[in-house]
Symmetry: C2
């Protein structure tokens, strides 16, 4: 179903909700749309309507739909369910998808749920849950198809044919030893083009390194991106095959990973539900505004130091935001570049020196260029040569400060274990505001004293 | 090779470059690392060293390495090559990867290159090039394995075995009619588990819609994400199969798509080479600073209107940045949320109304909360009740303005065909600066007149 169709879906929906044509809606949700499309529809529906839609959904589709929702939307819907209900709707999902959903449950409900699960399922889920959500172990599925190295391709083909179904997105079989140690992979494409009498050992690929279960998920994503993988084996410390990671789960990591920097820089969470309710949104935003208010007060305090000077030359009050703003913009550019570079693995200790020098020179050159322009405008505007000289100097100083802070802040924050995307922009603007106001008003005090 | 190893690679490299141990370097580049790892290493190397490394690379690896580089890094290296050289190193690549590289060439070199290509290759490349880079046609590969619906699984298996190799990442075969029209897909996993005598027609999957060649690449990416696809057929308007898109190419789109908002909001390009040379960087950044300078001047002009008032009450100059800053922060949060929502397809005309109302209420509530805090601090600081009342009112006004601008700007810009991520933040801060200064100083003029 195309995007255009989905758009009109949403409009039909709003109309149907208004006139109460529930029968038609129920049909659309349960027959007309795929579960992933229902999830997409729920994601773009405000809370009240979302609840109505959810109630119209058949029980047997709820689990499927739930797995496609964002973390926050999942948690909201799950918060109204009993453990037995959650179990009923998630039982048929793949292990990793089920574990993902369970992780959104309150501690109490999750424990209860694990208690009422059958043993085999519980053990599988607990194995996945034993790894943090953001590691290879938390991403993996345990539905691997494994073969031994000393059988023929013909035997493999016969073995597969005995299965009624092999898991979707199986592109390779995993070759393991008698003890379950991972040895290599046999791509289906290779199996299909080979002579039936050849041994697995002779055609398997041992180049594909297994992923340790404790590898962070961003690193897994980078491996998949770099090596164009579709699936990869996951092993424990002893080299035993635990499961496999498939590209569809990695795509979610890549999307979230990339969204993370964007959202964090505005103090938002990458899992944020666009249509979260008012009070929840207000509370979360309030925290960010409060933090930023502290930095704004610090900047004000700096200005406060120079009240007398401003009282003498009121033009300073008119021009001072320009200095702070230019430093902030230049610094943000550097900051964003470095944060993105860190996320891609391009920026690290060994090459930050070159980057620092380049940013410094770029800051200096752009500082000189725009200082001249601003000075010229200021001189014409206020008919005062001194003001022009002061603002020019201040802009050069602040652009250099912005470049230095923009390069070093993410490196320092990262080494302290603080997320640069979250804390970087607040700290950066504090620095450029303080240095900008201090340089401009301080120089003015010297000149006009 | 793990991330840690790569880090020490870069350090070894720097050391080797300094003492000139080229022999060792040459070995590492051509034998020790995979092409994708060499590309990653080049991406994180400053220009001069990057050139040295590139020259040490064997000719036969250049094409492989080139395809893994970002657009900008590719273009830089290609700019020093003749058409015949480019042809020599790209000839062995897949059609879509070759087309991607050719698109980085200057018009003149590309035309020359197409002239000296052999006919078959030229036709294939020209077919991919005939679609814009950012559409399904530009992403696709023409290396599909196609079968007819009226043959048995056994025949398919024999047919595949006659191939020495089928393309990597083939997870499904495409079923086409005698005239080449796309009918359905046959997943390899299905083929392997089925009875050999069954007809393709009976086991093929006709649920998978073909992707029209002119579908924008972000929409392709969304389809792959939603439907967990590994590959998908691409057809022309007549429904004829043109090629297939594989997940590894889509992953790049997802990464770039997500990076786009982050980088654009700082006036950067998502293809930006982190280690671009000084002059290139300076020139690009200068444009963004210039645009932002205009908005800073507009804000200054607003302050200028109230010079007399500031002259009377200098405390206003100290406090005014707080009003502008709080509005800017609140507005940026809304803006980022809406831009991300647009990119994910969650925000559209039919639900923007709800979002607008929520943001308005959130802005009002947070405005009231922080207005009280700021007013209290201002009253204590300046021992002036009136200043407290003025700043409280101005903050409420500006937070509401930020919420309104943050919601509506991206919608308006998008409908005008302007990229909201690029223009949104500049316009937003212009609005919150102007309204913030105007409200605060305007109210002050009324009160203190």
């Amino acid at each position: 179903m195309s995007q255009q169709d989905q758009l009109s879906n949403l409009e039909t929906l709003s109309a149907a909700l208004e006139v109460g044509e529930l029968q038609q809606l129920r049909f659309m949700l349960n027959k007309g749309l795929k579960p992933v499309e229902v999830a997409h529809l729920l994601e773009k529906t405000p809370p009240r309507e979302r609840q109505i839609l959810w109630n119209l959904l058949n029980k047997d589709l709820e689990g499927e739909v739930l797995q496609y929702l964002g973390d926050e939307a999942q948690a909201e819907i799950l918060s109204r369910m009993e453990a037995s209900e959650v179990l009923a709707i998630t039982e048929s999902l793949e292990t990793d998808d089920m574990a993902d959903i369970l992780q959104q449950l309150p501690e109490r409900v999750m424990k209860e749920l694990l208690k009422i699960m059958d043993r085999e399922n519980r053990e599988r889920v607990e194995q996945v849950l034993s790894f943090p959500e953001d590691t290879a172990g938390g991403l993996m599925n345990t539905d691997t198809v494994t073969i031994r190295p000393d059988i023929t391709a013909e035997t493999v083909l016969r073995y597969l044919r005995r299965h009624k179904e092999i898991p979707e997105t199986t592109d390779t079989l995993f070759v393991v030893s008698r003890k379950g140690s991972y040895i290599g992979v046999l791509p289906l494409t290779r199996l299909l083009t080979t002579d039936p009498d050849v041994l697995v050992r002779e055609i398997m690929n041992t180049d594909v390194d297994a992923i340790p279960a404790d590898m962070p998920d961003e690193e897994v994503a980078r491996l998949f991106e770099q090596l164009d993988l579709i699936s990869a084996p996951v092993t424990n410390e002893e080299g035993q095959l635990l499961g496999r990671i498939t590209i569809d789960d990695v795509v979610d990591v890549i999307r979230e990973d990339a969204d993370h920097s964007l959202m964090s820089m505005a103090g938002l969470d990458e899992d944020e539900d666009t249509f979260a309710p008012i009070m929840k949104t207000t509370r979360r935003r309030a925290v960010w505004l409060g933090i930023n208010l502290i930095t704004a007060f610090i900047a004000s305090a700096v200005i406060g130091l120079f009240e007398e000077t401003i009282d003498k030359v009121v033009a300073l009050a008119v021009l001072m935001p320009i200095v702070a703003s230019m430093g902030g913009i230049a610094g943000s550019q550097t900051l964003t570049l470095v944060i993105r570079g860190q996320a891609l693995g391009h920026v690290e200790r060994s090459n930050i020196g070159w980057l620092f020098n380049r940013e410094l020179v770029v800051g200096l050159l752009n500082g000189l260029l725009w200082a001249l322009v601003v000075a010229a405008v200021a001189v014409v505007w206020f008919q005062d040569m001194t003001v022009g000289v002061i603002i020019a100097l201040a802009i050069v100083i602040n652009l250099i400060a912005g470049a230095m802070a923009g390069t070093m802040l993410p490196m320092i924050l990262k080494s302290l274990g603080i997320d640069p995307a979250l804390a970087g922009s607040v700290l950066l603007t504090t620095i450029t505001d303080v240095i900008g106001f201090f340089a401009f008003l301080g120089l003015a005090t010297l000149f006009f004293a």
